[in-house]
């Protein structure tokens, strides 16, 4: 029996997290998504799988960066088996690029829904399906009620959902566990080398339930997330001609 005040409070905190839809990680399943220092922002220090994560992007460049970041996470989720669904109404994702982020493109099923209103229907059905490991949904409108529906679906099925929102103007409240914004930033090579380096992103965790929001610079290197320690010494501008 916990006796001290601190013990009681910490137990209550854990209970609350459980009541809010989080579940303790199942033993024997990989839960480290390779996020490194970012993972510390989540309750319990574990990236919440079986929840809905929201990514907002305002430009196609941001969408591409978010896609890369999500693909990096999905790679880890697919290690435990299962399929991945990529649902969108205007798909621009280029399947061969997923391989660069460790996801076999042939294991991803792309559902190109012509109508926006069907996107969330398909997403909800997919999230209810236990054989699916991850669902990525590119959508425009996403209301609070819809997010609640999706959250309820995953609480039962333990599927991880990623909502990629492309309308940053209406960043309304949602029932999602986290809200991210991924932006591409200048890549860096060893000093003096011309060209483009590894994909590097500014990862902003705008909201996280029961966690601490934060801001990191992360690079995708050798099939893994690598945190970049900033600030670094500014390089001289590269020259070509």
């Amino acid at each position: 029996m916990p006796q001290t005040k601190e013990e009681i409070i910490s137990k209550l905190r854990q209970d609350m997290i459980r009541w809010e839809g989080f579940r303790p990680p199942q033993p024997g399943v990989h839960h480290d998504l390779g996020l490194g220092p970012v993972a510390a922002a989540f309750p319990g220090g574990v990236f919440p799988t079986g929840a809905i994560h929201e990514f907002i992007s305002s430009s196609p460049e941001d969408t591409a960066a978010s896609g890369g970041f999500i693909a990096g996470l999905v790679q880890k989720l697919l290690r435990n088996g299962g399929a991945c669904l990529w649902i969108s109404y205007t798909r621009r994702i280029y399947p061969p690029a997923l391989k660069l982020f460790g996801v076999d493109p042939d294991r991803v099923i792309f559902v190109d829904v012509p109508l926006q209103k069907d996107v969330l229907w398909v997403t909800e059905e997919a999230l209810k399906c236990e054989g699916v490991a991850a669902v990525i949904c590119e959508t425009k409108a996403f209301s609070f009620m819809e997010s609640q529906r999706l959250q309820l679906a995953v609480e039962k099925s333990r599927v991880t959902g990623f909502i990629l929102r492309k309308d940053v103007k209406k960043a309304n409240t949602t029932a999602c566990v986290t809200r991210w914004q991924i932006r591409p930033v200048r890549s860096q090579l060893r000093s003096g080398m011309p060209g483009v380096g590894y994909p590097r992103w500014q990862v902003e965790l705008l909201k996280v339930r029961n966690g601490r929001p934060g801001n990191w610079t992360i690079e995708w290197k050798k099939q893994n997330f690598q945190p970049v320690i900033l600030p670094q010494i500014a390089e001289p501008a590269r020259q070509y001609a």
């Binding site: 294991r107 591409p184 590097r200 001609a241």
Partner: protein, 499 residues
């Protein structure tokens, strides 16, 4: 099990149908006539007209003399076939094997069907009373052979149900017309004074063949069951079919769902026993007002799981319009495939129930939105970026590896968008480019990666691709179409965005 056949003779097919559509004509003498060699010949007539002595083949002018109040309508050739087809479809509720028997009959294989209505007598009574309620005057008969049933229906005065093995006795007193013979053979028989089948049934075959032709012997043997005669069903029966007759017409959605579930359970039980699963199934409903409709579902993998199939139908159940009520549901498994034990592994080779789930999920998506929305890609052996991901079926395993040696953008534009770009030197990446009115100054770039157009597939210029990173760190995939050319404007395009 000995075969039993029913023949239904519509005595006044065309005229009955006319009276159904125009009830005020009932009880009046009227005929259908069609022009033939400059005269109008009567092709169909009512019982009332027959009382005056009017017969088929009489000219209208002659008929008008013996029956002054005769009404004449224009007949349409082929009309009877159309009517018979509709009636044959209606008769599918009694047996799945129905054959048209032009000009005015239907043949039914009722083997093993009659007990469902409480015996042959009740079976025929139901057909007669229901068709009579619609407005058709029919004469049905059941016998061991098609020929005997046909003859008894048309020529016998009584005893329309010929007991098993008694068809020879039943045929004896009938006139030769009961044998489906051509008119010239009938005339010959009459001239010879052979008014009953019994008077020539014992003659040797060789005699009959010499005098009346091969056809005569064949028809006689068919009627007696010595020669096999096959029924050619109008509609090929589906081997896996379940039917649900409703005692009371069904109108509510709940009732339809219960009925559907019941049908699916029976069908799946059968399929499960034979190791089969549904690939495509159709639910047809018959309304009491004679209308019908159907919904079809398809699956990606053969499935015999009731909840899954039910869900697929459930999505489309809104289209069922019960109207006054539905009296009959028929569920057909139109396409079946063996359910393999390997079904569980979709392509991930992970096993377990997961892939079943996914296949069922995709079935539901395809049912609601359409199959064309679901895509999966395998590595295509092409360099041209648009062709590298090759659309593939869901269960196909990749034959080659995905290439990772060249960087590829996360997002790609369907159509490369033209941009204004400035490059200082040939074959160098651009210094800046303008896309959608915004200027991007390029600070880092990789390239060029030349991708030749696959000339055996399409003509055109090659592309020199560059990965370009602008000041804000946004990474683009740009290309120059064709060679560097100082005189002409350069054709630069934006094709994708890197992560």
């Amino acid at each position: 099990m000995p075969k039993r056949f029913a023949a239904i003779w519509f005595r006044y097919l065309l005229t009955d149908q006319k009276a159904i559509r125009q009830p005020d004509l009932k009880g009046k003498p009227y005929v259908f006539a069609e022009p033939d060699h400059g005269r109008l010949l009567i092709t169909a007539l009512t019982a009332e007209a027959r009382k005056y002595g009017v017969v088929e083949g009489m000219t209208v002018a002659d008929a008008r003399i013996i029956a002054p109040e005769l009404l004449v309508f224009d007949g349409k050739p082929g009309r009877n076939l159309k009517l018979l087809t509709g009636l044959a479809e209606w008769c599918l509720r009694y047996t799945p094997l129905v054959q048209l028997d032009p000009p005015d009959g239907l043949l039914l294989d009722v083997t093993g069907c009659t007990h469902l209505k409480g015996g042959e007598k009740a079976f025929l009574q139901e057909i007669v009373s229901r068709l009579k309620a619609i407005g058709y005057d029919i004469r049905p008969a059941i016998a061991d052979t098609i020929g005997a049933a046909w003859g008894v229906a048309r020529c016998a005065a009584a005893g329309l149900i010929v007991p098993e093995g008694m068809h020879r006795n039943a045929l004896m007193p009938l006139p030769p017309a009961a044998l489906r013979l051509p008119a010239d053979a009938l005339l010959k028989l009459r001239n010879l004074g052979l008014h009953q089948i019994s008077s020539f049934i014992y003659m040797p075959d060789s005699v009959l063949r010499r005098r009346f032709g091969k056809n005569m012997v064949l028809r006689l043997q068919q009627a007696l069951g010595q020669e096999v005669e096959y029924l050619f069903p109008m509609k090929e029966p589906v081997p896996y079919t379940e039917r649900l007759d409703c005692l009371e017409p069904v109108t509510t959605r709940t009732a339809i769902e219960i009925g559907l579930n019941d049908l699916l359970e029976r069908l799946c039980k059968r399929l499960y026993g034979e190791g089969l699963g549904v690939r495509s199934a159709m639910l047809t409903w018959y309304r009491i007002d004679g209308k019908n409709g159907s919904i079809t579902i398809g699956t990606n993998h053969a499935s015999n799981r009731v909840p899954h199939l039910f869900k697929l139908f459930f999505i489309k159940l809104d289209t069922v319009a019960p109207g006054m009520g539905i009296e009959l549901f028929i569920l057909e498994a139109r396409q079946t495939e063996p359910v393999s034990d390997k079904q569980n592994e979709l392509w991930s080779a992970k096993g377990g129930a997961e892939s079943d789930d996914v296949a069922e999920l995709l079935d539901r998506v395809a049912g609601r939105i359409g199959t064309a929305t679901i895509h999966r890609y395998l590595p295509g052996e092409h360099y041209w970026p648009e062709r590298t991901p090759r659309p593939a079926e869901l269960r196909k395993a990749p034959e080659s590896e995905w290439r990772t040696d060249k960087p590829r953008p996360m997002q790609i534009l369907d159509q490369p968008e033209p941009i204004e770009a400035m490059a200082l030197t040939p074959d160098y990446p651009p210094k800046l480019f303008i896309w959608k009115g915004e200027q991007h100054i390029i600070v880092g770039a990789d390239g060029p990666e030349r991708i030749e157009r696959e000339w055996w597939l399409e003509p055109g210029e090659h592309r020199d691709y560059y990965i370009a990173e602008d000041e804000a760190g946004r990474r683009y995939w740009l290309f120059r179409s064709g060679h560097y050319n100082a005189e002409n404007n350069q054709h630069w395009y934006l094709h994708g965005f890197f992560a």
